[in-house]
Each structure stands twice: as structure tokens, then as C-alpha cells.
């Protein structure tokens, strides 16, 4: 059995090839191998949601996936949403509604909210709260995060 596996992963539209240990977590592959530190690592056991990314368009916790599992897949991280000075609508809404304080949970919140907005009508604030219940924030008390997502729901635009 070989010690490393060759993988090719499309991250934010760019194909990256690397030889990785099977036990390397996708989160560590993104941060350490590729240097994409926008994805944050909190609990490393699937509880805090900070490391949430999209894998083939579906949100997934990157601490609960191996990098080798992403071989041939398309991964989108928070870096794909926008850039400084050119944030996307959801990021702008987080900014406008003060939906972050320290910002540690924000990448996971944004990626989770992106998937929620695509999959659920989010008709009520309770729906938004339930949808975000897997993402922990220790600063905001969630109120402003819910408001930020609500504002994007109201625009009705596809994320």
C-alpha cells in the first residue's frame, strides 16, 4: 500500500494536483497544502461548522472529509464568494447587518447560508435559525446573522 495518493481537486475553479496522505483532512489540505486559509478550523469533529465548504455544490464539513475523497470533485471555499472591495450579495449583507464580530465562524456561516438559500425557502426566521443551528458563533448571539440571511432571502436572487 502506498503512503500517499495522487489527487486532483478543483478548488474555486482551479485544478490542484498533489500527493497526500490518506489521513489528511480536506480542511488541512485547503489550508496547509493550498494555503487557502479562508476556511477556518474550529472543533475538528463536525460540531462547530467553521470549516464548512461546498463539495460539488453541497455544503460539507471539511474536517469530516478526507482530501483523498475530494479527488476529481469540485470544492468551493469562502474565497470563491467574492473579494475585498467586491463582496457578493450575502457577504455585503453580513457587512451591512453587522453579522460578524471576531469573524471566526463567518466563512462557515457564509458557506452554510449559501447552500441553505439554494435548497430551502427559509420562509421564517425560525427556518433560518434551524438551518444555521450547526454553525456556532460565540460573538453575535446570532440575531444579526439571521437578519443578514433574511435580507438576502427577501431579494429572491439565486445564490
Amino acid at each position: 500500500m502506498k503512503k500517499t495518493c495522487e489527487i486532483a481537486v478543483t478548488v474555486n475553479g482551479t485544478v490542484y494536483e498533489a500527493a497526500v496522505e490518506p489521513r489528511l483532512l480536506l480542511a488541512d489540505f485547503l489550508r496547509h497544502t493550498l494555503g487557502l486559509t479562508g476556511t477556518h478550523v474550529g472543533c475538528e469533529h463536525g460540531v462547530c461548522g467553521a470549516c464548512t465548504v461546498l463539495v460539488d455544490s453541497d455544503s460539507a464539513r471539511s474536517c469530516l472529509m478526507l482530501a483523498v475523497q475530494a479527488d476529481g470533485r469540485s470544492v468551493e471555499t469562502v474565497e470563491s464568494l467574492g473579494s475585498i472591495g467586491q463582496m457578493n450579495e450575502l457577504q455585503e449583507s453580513f457587512h451591512a447587518h453587522h453579522a460578524l464580530q471576531c469573524g471566526f465562524c463567518t466563512p462557515g456561516m457564509l458557506m452554510t447560508a449559501t447552500d441553505l438559500l439554494r435548497k430551502y425557502p427559509l420562509a421564517t426566521d425560525d427556518d433560518i435559525r434551524k438551518g444555521l443551528s450547526g454553525n456556532l458563533c460565540r460573538c453575535t448571539g446570532y440575531e444579526h446573522i439571521v437578519k443578514a440571511v433574511r435580507a438576502v432571502v427577501k431579494t429572491g436572487k439565486k445564490q
Partner: protein
């Protein structure tokens, strides 16, 4: 908080998966959705010699209809179940329950086969398998067999799989006409494991219950059926006093544990309250649903 070293195999079909399991002699672990296995690896609670990744096996994630059953492939993700029109039509109780499993990111990855094989004592899908009298198909290098969900869950996180076997399919017999359902769960936060949950189906004929099923989770090492309470209901019409007797029978039948989330007494109390609500909902839906197939 990083997994230990292991060898890694991508299975391309069930035969290569079970051959790898057989070669490892029980030291392998199957990687499906990874939503329970990966935390256990990260915590180093497990040290498998080899991980057999079944995610790329084509045709292992499906929801199919036969004349008298719905077949669900083991690799079917929770989100597929949640949004399946076949499941919504034939097993609305399962559609309801699966929406309570974890969070969206977990439902995108987690699989029904993984959830049943992992068998967390407070999980929703093992309880659904027991409620709906699921039949589980299991393969190994030695052959295949089926087991009833009721006989599958042996203890907390312990099931009737010997380490070289792979659960491949869950078969649910369609419910009779005029069957109502209820699902009730108490959690501290949406998506958490249940402090307690109860689900019921009531099949009615002329305002009389002809078949009753009550399943509970979070109140013992495995999901369970409340046989005593079920038999109390059969042959009667549901009302408040019958509901109270069923609740008492459920509370007597269970031995929940105290842990940091809830005391045994509180869980026993919840199990009764939730059973009452689930039965009332099942009765209401069954009565409303006179023509439904």
C-alpha cells in the same frame, strides 16, 4: 484531533469492498458519509488498519419503488431521503424524521446505511427502521443475508454486522391504506441527537385501530418498539384515556439512562409525552386519510 494512519481503498463495487473487508479480517472500517466515523477517527477512538471508501460505488445510493415496497440503497444521503417524493408519498413519517437528522451539511453527506450501521442510541433513522419493520440486506465475501431491523440493533453502537459485512439496502414494506403517522422529538438545539423521540403509525378501519406501531429512541441503548402499548391500542378507537394508558405502558417498558444531557426520570417523562403527541397525530391523520393508499 487528526486521524491516525490507515491504508485507504476506494471500492468500485460491492464485491471489491467486501473482499477488502475480508482481507482485513475485521480490522477495516467502511467509510460512507463519514459523519460519525470521521469524528471518531479525529478523536482517535478508532484505529482501523484500512478504510474502505464506498462513496464511489455506483448504484449504491437509490430510492426505488416496487409494487409492495420501497428499496433504499445504503449510500442514499439523508438529504436525498428528505427531498424524495417517493418517500414523502409512502413514508411521510420518514420524511419528517430525516429532516431532524443533524444539520444540512451533515444531511448532504450522511447515509442511511452509515446511520443504521453506526447505531447511535439517540439517532432518528435506526428508530425509523424499527418503526417501519425494515428489512436490511447485508453482503459479505461469503454471501448475502437479510435481517429484520428489530433484530439488527443489539446494543449501543453495536449491530448485527461482523466487520466483514456491508449493509447494502433497506427495504420498507408499503403501509396499508388509512395509516396515519406521528413523529415527535425533543432536542436542546435543532439537529442535535434526541433527548427522546417517539414515532407512531396507526392503521385504521372503520374508526378502529387495526395495527399500531410505536417506536422510541434516546431512552435506551437501542431504538425499541413499545409492544405493550401497541397491543393496548388495537381493536379500539383512540381517545384521551386510551392515550394515557399507552403513555403509562411506554413509561413502564423503558429504562432510560441519566447522562449529562438529561436524567432518566426526565427522559421517561418525555417518552410518555412524545408518545401521546405522536399517537394523537397518527390518529388524526389516519382519520383524515380515509381514501389514501
Amino acid at each position: 484531533m487528526k486521524p491516525p494512519e490507515f491504508d485507504y481503498i476506494v471500492a468500485t463495487d460491492c464485491d471489491t469492498a467486501v473482499a477488502a473487508l475480508a482481507r482485513a479480517g475485521g480490522e477495516a472500517k467502511i467509510l460512507a458519509g463519514g459523519q460519525s466515523l470521521m469524528p471518531m477517527l479525529n478523536f482517535r477512538l478508532l484505529h482501523p488498519s484500512i478504510l474502505v471508501d464506498i462513496n464511489r460505488i455506483p448504484g449504491l445510493g437509490f430510492i426505488d419503488e416496487t409494487p409492495d415496497s420501497i428499496r433504499i440503497g445504503a449510500l442514499t444521503r439523508h438529504f436525498q431521503l428528505e427531498t424524495s417524493s417517493l418517500i414523502a408519498r409512502h413514508f411521510p413519517v420518514l420524511s419528517c424524521a430525516v429532516a431532524h437528522v443533524g444539520h444540512l451539511a451533515i444531511r448532504n453527506r450522511g447515509t442511511i446505511g452509515g446511520s443504521l450501521s453506526h447505531a447511535d442510541p439517540a439517532a432518528e433513522l435506526p428508530m425509523m427502521a424499527v418503526l417501519l419493520d425494515a428489512t436490511l440486506r447485508i453482503v459479505s465475501a461469503a454471501g448475502s443475508r437479510t435481517v429484520a431491523a428489530r433484530d439488527f440493533f443489539l446494543d449501543a453502537m453495536t449491530v448485527d454486522l461482523n466487520g466483514t459485512e456491508l449493509l447494502t439496502e433497506i427495504v420498507l414494506a408499503k403501509l396499508p391504506a388509512q395509516t396515519g403517522w406521528g413523529f415527535e422529538e425533543i432536542v436542546r438545539r435543532h439537529g442535535d441527537f434526541a433527548l427522546a423521540a417517539a414515532a407512531a403509525t396507526l392503521t385504521l378501519s372503520a374508526n378502529e385501530i387495526v395495527q399500531a406501531r410505536i417506536a422510541l429512541t434516546g431512552v435506551g441503548p437501542t431504538p425499541l418498539r413499545a409492544a405493550q402499548a401497541e397491543s393496548l391500542l388495537v381493536g379500539r378507537g383512540f381517545d384521551e384515556s386510551l392515550g394515557r394508558r399507552a403513555i403509562e405502558a411506554v413509561r413502564e417498558a423503558i429504562s432510560p439512562e441519566t447522562d449529562l444531557h438529561a436524567s432518566a426520570d426526565f427522559r421517561r417523562h418525555l417518552a410518555g409525552v412524545l408518545t401521546g403527541r405522536a399517537l394523537a397525530a397518527a390518529w388524526r391523520r389516519g382519520r383524515r386519510d380515509k381514501s389514501a393508499a
